[in-house]
Structure formats: structure tokens, C-alpha cells
């Protein structure tokens, strides 16, 4: 019988499942002398009370965790069975861990008692076997769990990398320059693509790389961030661009600097402002124009109608001299009006008439202008000198001819009683431009009147011919070409020099500009 039991003990590990093991043990132990039947009570395989001796199981606390906490041994469990003398239990346990019970129904307690030590040993073997199996299971499970953990970790890392890549893609696809910086040293810890494109190099200073300087930018946000711990913002110029710069502290020794290049926006704003200013100037000019035109055109009308009335009276009086004077004044006013109208027409057309811009040699143009004013020059005995160093400019040729013609005509007209009247047309370099001039030794212009003379209808000398349109016209032509005009004179009898600039090359004086 013992041989049978030892064999069973050896074969315990062959049982594939707990339930199978319990059944095998129960069958084996049923052969022990004095034993009627044997049950194995283990978690997961405990028989229901009805299957066993219902009454006993109901009292048994062996597997009821609420009544028999872990560590309760067989003796204590037996207490529950004390009033059932035919029931005996042997605990299955290892290292204080209870795994279950053998429950024997005994009809010969003495015979059973003789085998009890063996049964305890057997139980220990079973428990050890169970534990081994459990540990194997545990190992297997742990291994599996470990494997799963590793896989999960790998997946997580993959995701993390993917995430990091995405973050980088996100940062790199943002147009602003973004950098993480050390506020004290301005060392770049990290930066995005826009940052790298403007020269930022992680590990180096921002001013040394992006700023191309050996010291921090004067506007650097870092000291303020360092001092206040608060975000900072400003618009500034740097490396030839305009930046909308923000600095945001992100850690004790780290701040985020991001800067958007707003150069184009700023340029557009500036352009808009310029356009508005230009428009306002033009509006004001138009208003002035309308005002002066209405005023100055009315003036000859007052004369004409006034003298027509006088003419009637003088005819009635038969005063021939007065009649002649009246008619002369009427004709004069009509002529003035005619001249005014054609000059105003010329002035209004400057903005519209477009002659394609061309390279114009001012020396040749000056000769042409002098020829046009030839009559007056000869009459006044004026000596005219044209400098050979006059530049070649780009512009509207007929218009530029008008400028020179008007200026030469004026110079000859305002000679006063100069015994040796002289007009010089020349040029002098000044910074990046060439200043052209028409200089005379005539009556000169006092400094306080020098600005007014370019205004429409403003005349300094009431007795001279002319309507006060000429210089306004000249000014307008020069300005349409993108140039400037002014007069230099020390005062009365000191002669005058009318200076103007016209850009030497075509870009800013193309057809569009002239049209404008």
C-alpha cells in the first residue's frame, strides 16, 4: 500500500490540472487503512457542501477566507469539525502558506492515526509540488508579463519617438523663430527650423550666431525676463529685418524666445501710411488748386466787365484816350485769362500725359531750352553758359525740357538792372545724387519768400508778366519724377540759383510713376 502511495507521490506532477490532481489524490488516499473517503479541498477545486458531507462543509472554515484568514492551520480548522469525530483534516501548506486541506472520513481512528504522520508528509509533498507548479506558472506568467511589458514599453517608446518627431515637425513648420535659451548666457538650448535658417546654432549663443555679434543685442529680452520672471514683448530691428519678439520664462534657467519676421507687414504698413500721406497731400493740393483757380480766374473777369462799363461811359463822354485805355485793359485781361487757362491745363495734364521714360542728356536738353528762350535772351543781352558736366537722367523728355525752359526764362526775366546779365546751367555732386541748377546774377529772392514762390499763383513781383503758374508747374514735374526743387539766394540783388534733382536711373521713374 505504501509503495502505491509513494508511486502516487512520484506521479503527482503528471496531473495536468488542479482538479485532476485533487481527484488523483482523493483516489489514492482512499486506500489508507481506516479511511472511508478522502476529499481534497483546494481553492478552485473545493467540492460544494452538497457533494461532500453537507453538514461538515457547512461548518468547515478551511477555505472560507472570511472565517479562516491565511495562516490558519489544520488544527484550528479541525476545531470546526470537533463535534464530528469521524472527520480528520490534514493541511496542505508550505512556508506558512495554506493551499488547501485533505479531509478524511475515518471509520477506524486508530488505524488512521498510525498513518497520519505519513499523510502529513504526503500533504507537504503535494503542497511543495503545487507550489513548484505555481511558481512555474508564476514564472511563466511573470515572463509573459515581462514580455508584454517590454513590448508595451517598446510601443510606448516608439510612440514617444513618433511624438517627439511630431513635436519637432510642429515646431519646424511654424514660421516664427523659436528657441529655448539660457537667460544668463543666452546659450541656445534648442531651436526650430526657422531659427536654424536665420543662423541660430544650438549650444552656441544667440547673439553670436543669429545676431552675428560678440555681445548681446541691446534690446535683448533676457535681463527683463530674468529680473521679473514675466513674459516680455517688443518690436525691434535685427539682422536687417523687423521682428515681433516674445520672451517667455519656461523654467528657472530657461526661457522661450520666439520672434516673427514682420518686415513685410511693416513695409506694407509704411507704404500704406505713405500712400495716405500722399493722398492727403494731393487732396490738399487739389483744394488749394480749386481755391486759387476760382479766385484767380475771377480776377480778369472783374477787370473785363468793369472796363466794359467804363468803356460805355467813356464812349458817351467821347473821351478817345480813355476808350483806348479801357480797350487795352480789357484785351490784357482777356489775354491773361487765356494764358491762365492754358497753363492750368498744362499743370493738370502733368499727372496724366505719359511720355515713356528715356535717358535724357541734360546738356543737349539745356541747349534746346536756351534756343526756345532765345528771343528773350537776345533782347536782354544775357550771356548763357551750359556746363559740359550736366548728367544724363531718366525721365519724361518733353517735361524735363519744360523745367529747364521755365527756369531759364525766369532767370532772364528777373535780371533787374544787372549790367552784365549771366545765366549758368550746371550740376554739382551731392552725396548720392547730382544737383542740377540754373543760376543767375539777377534780382535774387529774400530767404523769407523762397518757399512761397513755388505755390500756384504766388508772385513776388506784381508788375512782371506771368501768371504764377510756371514755378508750380516746374515743381510738379520735378516731383513727379521723384526729385526735389528749391531755390538758393542770399537775398535781393544777390542772384538766384534754382536747384533740382532728378534720379539718374530709371527704376523709380518708370511709366507708372510718371502716370501717377
Amino acid at each position: 500500500m505504501l509503495g502505491q502511495l509513494f508511486a502516487a507521490q512520484r506521479d503527482l506532477h503528471l496531473q495536468p490540472t488542479r482538479a485532476g490532481l485533487a481527484e488523483f489524490i482523493a483516489e489514492t488516499l482512499a486506500v489508507v487503512p481506516g479511511v472511508v473517503s478522502c476529499r481534497v479541498c483546494m481553492p478552485g477545486v473545493s467540492p460544494t457542501p452538497d457533494e461532500l458531507d453537507g453538514e461538515a462543509c457547512r461548518h468547515c472554515t478551511a477555505l472560507r477566507e472570511d472565517l479562516a484568514p491565511a495562516g490558519t492551520d489544520a488544527a484550528e480548522v479541525n476545531c470546526a469539525l470537533a463535534d464530528m469525530p469521524d472527520m480528520h483534516t490534514v493541511a496542505l501548506k508550505t512556508a506558512g502558506r495554506r493551499d488547501g486541506f485533505f479531509v478524511f472520513k475515518v471509520d477506524d481512528p486508530d488505524a488512521f492515526a498510525a498513518y497520519e504522520p505519513f499523510l502529513t508528509g504526503f500533504a507537504h509533498c503535494v503542497a511543495l509540488g503545487l507550489e513548484g507548479r505555481m511558481q512555474k506558472d508564476l514564472l511563466k506568467k511573470t515572463g509573459e508579463r515581462l514580455k508584454a511589458n517590454v513590448a508595451a514599453r517598446e510601443r510606448a517608446e516608439e510612440k514617444l519617438h513618433e511624438r517627439a518627431d511630431l513635436d519637432q515637425i510642429l515646431l519646424d513648420s511654424l514660421p516664427p523663430v523659436a528657441m529655448l535659451l539660457r537667460p544668463k548666457t543666452r546659450e541656445i538650448v534648442a531651436c526650430n527650423k526657422a531659427g536654424r535658417e536665420v543662423g541660430a546654432v544650438p549650444g552656441k549663443t544667440c547673439f553670436g550666431t543669429w545676431g552675428r555679434s560678440d555681445k548681446p543685442c541691446p534690446w535683448c529680452l533676457a535681463p527683463e525676463i530674468w529680473a521679473t520672471g514675466k513674459p516680455q514683448h517688443l518690436e525691434t530691428e535685427g539682422v536687417g529685418r523687423i521682428w515681433d519678439a516674445h520672451g517667455i520664462p519656461v523654467a528657472d534657467d530657461l526661457y522661450l524666445h520666439y520672434a516673427s519676421d514682420i518686415t513685410e507687414r511693416k513695409r506694407a504698413e509704411e507704404e500704406r501710411e505713405n500712400l495716405i500721406t500722399e493722398l492727403e497731400t494731393q487732396n490738399a493740393e487739389l483744394e488749394r488748386f480749386t481755391y486759387t483757380v476760382s479766385h484767380d480766374l475771377k480776377s480778369p473777369l472783374v477787370t473785363i466787365k468793369g472796363y466794359l462799363g467804363l468803356l460805355e461811359e467813356d464812349i458817351a463822354d467821347g473821351d478817345a484816350d480813355a476808350i483806348r485805355d479801357d480797350v487795352k485793359r480789357i484785351a490784357g485781361a482777356a489775354d491773361k485769362m487765356d494764358r491762365l487757362l492754358s497753363e492750368l491745363l498744362a499743370l493738370s495734364q502733368i499727372g496724366r500725359l505719359v511720355n515713356p521714360p528715356e535717358n535724357v542728356a541734360l546738356e543737349g536738353l539745356a541747349r534746346e531750352a536756351v534756343e526756345l528762350v532765345g528771343g528773350q535772351i537776345a533782347a536782354g543781352g544775357v550771356q548763357v553758359e551750359i556746363s559740359p558736366d550736366l548728367p544724363t537722367v531718366a525721365g519724361d523728355r518733353p517735361r524735363l525740357l519744360e523745367v529747364l525752359q521755365n527756369l531759364i526764362d525766369n532767370a532772364v526775366k528777373y535780371m533787374g538792372d544787372q549790367p552784365r546779365p549771366r545765366v549758368e546751367i550746371g550740376a554739382r555732386p551731392d552725396d548720392e545724387e547730382t544737383i542740377c541748377y540754373v543760376r543767375d546774377n539777377g534780382i535774387g529772392i529774400e530767404p523769407r519768400y523762397q518757399e512761397r514762390i513755388f505755390n500756384l499763383f504766388d508772385k513776388l513781383h506784381p508788375k512782371t508778366e506771368g501768371s504764377g503758374v510756371g514755378l508750380a508747374l516746374v515743381k510738379r514735374i520735378v516731383e513727379v519724377h521723384g526729385g526735389r526743387i528749391w531755390v538758393e539766394s542770399k537775398g535781393a540783388a544777390e542772384g538766384s540759383t534754382f536747384c533740382f534733382t532728378v534720379p539718374p536711373k530709371a527704376p523709380s521713374t518708370d511709366a507708372e510713376e510718371v502716370e501717377k
Binding site: 476760382s294 484767380d296 468793369g306 472796363y307 462799363g309
Partner: protein, 148 residues
Amino acid sequence: MNDRSLTVLHIEDNTDHAHLVARALQKHRPVDVRLVEDGEAALDYLLRQGEYRDPQTSPRPHLILLDLRLPKIDGLEVLQAIKTNEALLSIPVVVFTSSDAEKDVARAYAVHANSYLVKPVGFDEFSETIELLNSYWLDWNCYPQPCA
């Protein structure tokens, strides 16, 4: 009505207009009309400077007729100079101009013009305006002090 010798200073760059005004003013009685053709000359006359130094040949006017658009110094500047000068401010200044722009009217009164007349286009209206002006300012108007 008034036997005084009356002097009018006409500040006007348009000699045709000046002639029309002088003829209308002198139509019914002698009026001494002094013409200056730019703002600078006007102030020289009133302040007795340069060629106008002699009070005998450049008498103080009883009335000033002032055009606004003038060479050298603008009519409004001349007006302002007159009305800020203790010795001159009592001389009535009638602005006589072809401008009917509100801006000009407002500015002229802002620097204390005594009257603002727009030059009428049309002989009859022109003559009538000057005649009325003559009788109002030179006959009926009282002056704070007898003029020398």
C-alpha cells in the same frame, strides 16, 4: 457832407482793379487814393518805412482797402500786423477781394477785419459797392480820433 481831405490806402496787386476802384471812389468827390501793390510795401507805408517815411507825402489813411492775395506778404498777414499795432488798429480795414471762400472770410474776421467785401463781377455792381462803401466809411462812419 464832409469836407475833410480823405485818404484811402488801397493794397492791391491788380492795377486794373485798382484803377476801377479809384475811379469809382473819386466819381462824386475827390478822394486821395494811395495804391501799394504788395504786402511789404503796405506795411512800409503804414509804418512809415523806406520810401514812405515822410508823413506829408504818405498820410495816414482814413480807410484801408485790402486784397488778400498779395505778393511778398499775404493780405491776412498785413491785416494781422495792422490789428496788432496800437497805432494802426483803429483804422478800418475793408477786405476787398475776389475770393468768396468761407475760409478766407472766417480768417479775415479772426484777425479783426472791419468788413469783408467780395469784388462783384459786373460794372454796375462793382461801382455801386464802391460808392456805398465810400459813403458808409468816409461819410457816415465816426472815427475815434481826427486823423492828421
